[in-house]
Symmetry: C2
Subunit: 400 residues, 2 copies
Amino acid sequence: MSELTSVSQAEALIAEHMPPFGSELVPLDEAVGRILRQAVRAEHDHPPFDRVMMDGIATRWSQGMPRRLAVAGAQMAGMPRQSLPSGDACLEVTTGAMLPAGCDCVIPIEQLRRDGGDYLLSDECQPQAGQFIHRQATDCAQGSLLLSPGMRLGPAEMALLAANGVAKVEVAVMPSIAIVSTGDELVNVDAPLGEGQIRRSNDTAVRAMLRLEGFARVAMEHIVDDEAATRERIAELLDRHDVLLLSGGVSMGQRDYVPAALAAQGVRKVFHRIAQKPGKPMWFGIGPRGQAVFALPGNPVSALVCATRYARPALLAAQGIPVSAPEHVVLDSEVDINPTLVSFVPARVQTDASGRSMAYPVPSRTSGDFSSLPRTHGFIELPSGQGKAPAGTVATFYRW
Amino acid sequence: MSELTSVSQAEALIAEHMPPFGSELVPLDEAVGRILRQAVRAEHDHPPFDRVMMDGIATRWSQGMPRRLAVAGAQMAGMPRQSLPSGDACLEVTTGAMLPAGCDCVIPIEQLRRDGGDYLLSDECQPQAGQFIHRQATDCAQGSLLLSPGMRLGPAEMALLAANGVAKVEVAVMPSIAIVSTGDELVNVDAPLGEGQIRRSNDTAVRAMLRLEGFARVAMEHIVDDEAATRERIAELLDRHDVLLLSGGVSMGQRDYVPAALAAQGVRKVFHRIAQKPGKPMWFGIGPRGQAVFALPGNPVSALVCATRYARPALLAAQGIPVSAPEHVVLDSEVDINPTLVSFVPARVQTDASGRSMAYPVPSRTSGDFSSLPRTHGFIELPSGQGKAPAGTVATFYRW
């Protein structure tokens, strides 16, 4: 048996070998959820002009200013800048309009009364110089750095791209990923289930995880237990995809033709077996074109844990997302730990009334027991040690 | 001016008026991220049989059992159940195979040495009865409740659907949503920007939010400031969509033709103006077919806050997601609060080394200042009060 790789070594080895996926220019409306690969600067000042913040009138403020103002015109949102004539005058304005030249005070419609061609300030109206004006460049000046490479394009980022005229945006290329299951005992969701058979589910779970993370190019393939077929399909898959996620792993079993098929295509093992539970059999290798091959263990909990802990973060990092600080949680109850292996324990997480992020462990007896996973949000990572991690222990947490 | 509605009243009024969206049957691979609307029970026991957990041999255990076992056949994964013949015999087995009849012990290949037609147990091999056997139904028994209506279909839920033969799954219907912006001052992301104009961005931001939440049917429409055009387009939109999100809100402005157009189509106001900052001008109404109409305020921060705080949760609840406990965070630094309005303050959130969920406020001077939003994860909600909320205050948090 090969030496066990530590969790942190495994992370580092994957990071070292993952190929970058490059970048591409996409229309803005296809960029949602993608990873930005360019810097974005302010196209113009924000606001681009002194901007009226209320519907009402704009005028010039002075100490003891008149309470009756003649309407000299209108400055609607979207209009080029108008000018206030001299005298006791005002311009009607709408929210979002340019502040007319010569004005420094906006009075809301609620504080006004119309009287023929004039507006009268209501009794309670005590205008201040500068009120209800959003001054040019007070949010940011033209050329300010707004977005940096590596950001995921969520609602706020999309707002800034749209507001700054970025109609096409440089984002990370989405890798083409194949999730490959093997084994004659595995049948499709809609097939009759024979004696000794179970349904494939790891591929569906891992694809769901990747899709929810924004990876749209994810294929699922099943390879039957046949040496020639395995060799041929693995060659094709390595040719067509950037990343292979083998569900079922590579094993010492007599009928596991995957290791030989990978080797025949020049896929080089980087590590096999990690000092962790579940998920010890995890294997990682690199193909001749830099294709990343993750062989996830076949048990359902192990497969999801390894996809969450290794494959997904590696795919995100290869798209340019910076490594983020881990999430910390407090154990609500004690948890068994392993004397020599890192333990991954499924848990539900919720903040309590004091703002602590509490983890409620939902341990599964074996890595084949997955019926309780829907009650969890992810898993706690606990270092090896003697006995139990007591309630109150702070641990890192990884969300599914 | 109309009375202000409280934040909790607004939530309750929306919940009371939102129409349910019904359910539909979709193929499993289109169900990722959707909201389950059926109960799912175990199709069969899990595991469905006593299952071999290691590659190696299966045999019958006894005190002082023989160290040499004759290979009497093989039980591969996927095969119908074989039987162990009597005598000092074993069957070769692979991970995932049925435990052969007559066996109660699996010995891993690593603890064996092949010698002709026999296997020899290595010196360190001390087999235990029952070892490396995943017993039938120990995860769950046939008919156990695995998934309940209202769950979002993430990786674990998808695994259980696949493993239990649910090839078509009943999920909430996705509403057809139109995000409608109005105003001649707003130009498209790729249009030349004239004096007094700005680019549309709220629609792009809100669509991004809804898409990332799994809402795929989201259209964007822009209506110019023209009374007849507004009336005609609003009628069409109410006809074609279940939900309208008006970006720019409904105002008292002279050129706002939206309120009249909505009224002409029988859309009834439920409330207008909420006691909150930003986002006070928020309006909500219901059309004659039960169409939900959210008029989000036009300032970028207000629009995102109101979409996050009201529209998105209402859409999720109408799909059947149960209301979840709010997230609690601890303020890292003091924050200004408002004497009469609930304050929504953008913030970054991160758990600290003790597992507390810390909020780092990134207040914006006005609700028009949105350039700092990409540095935040959502916003804190703080009740009205005097002065400031001190560092250490626990507050509820809403993620973008």
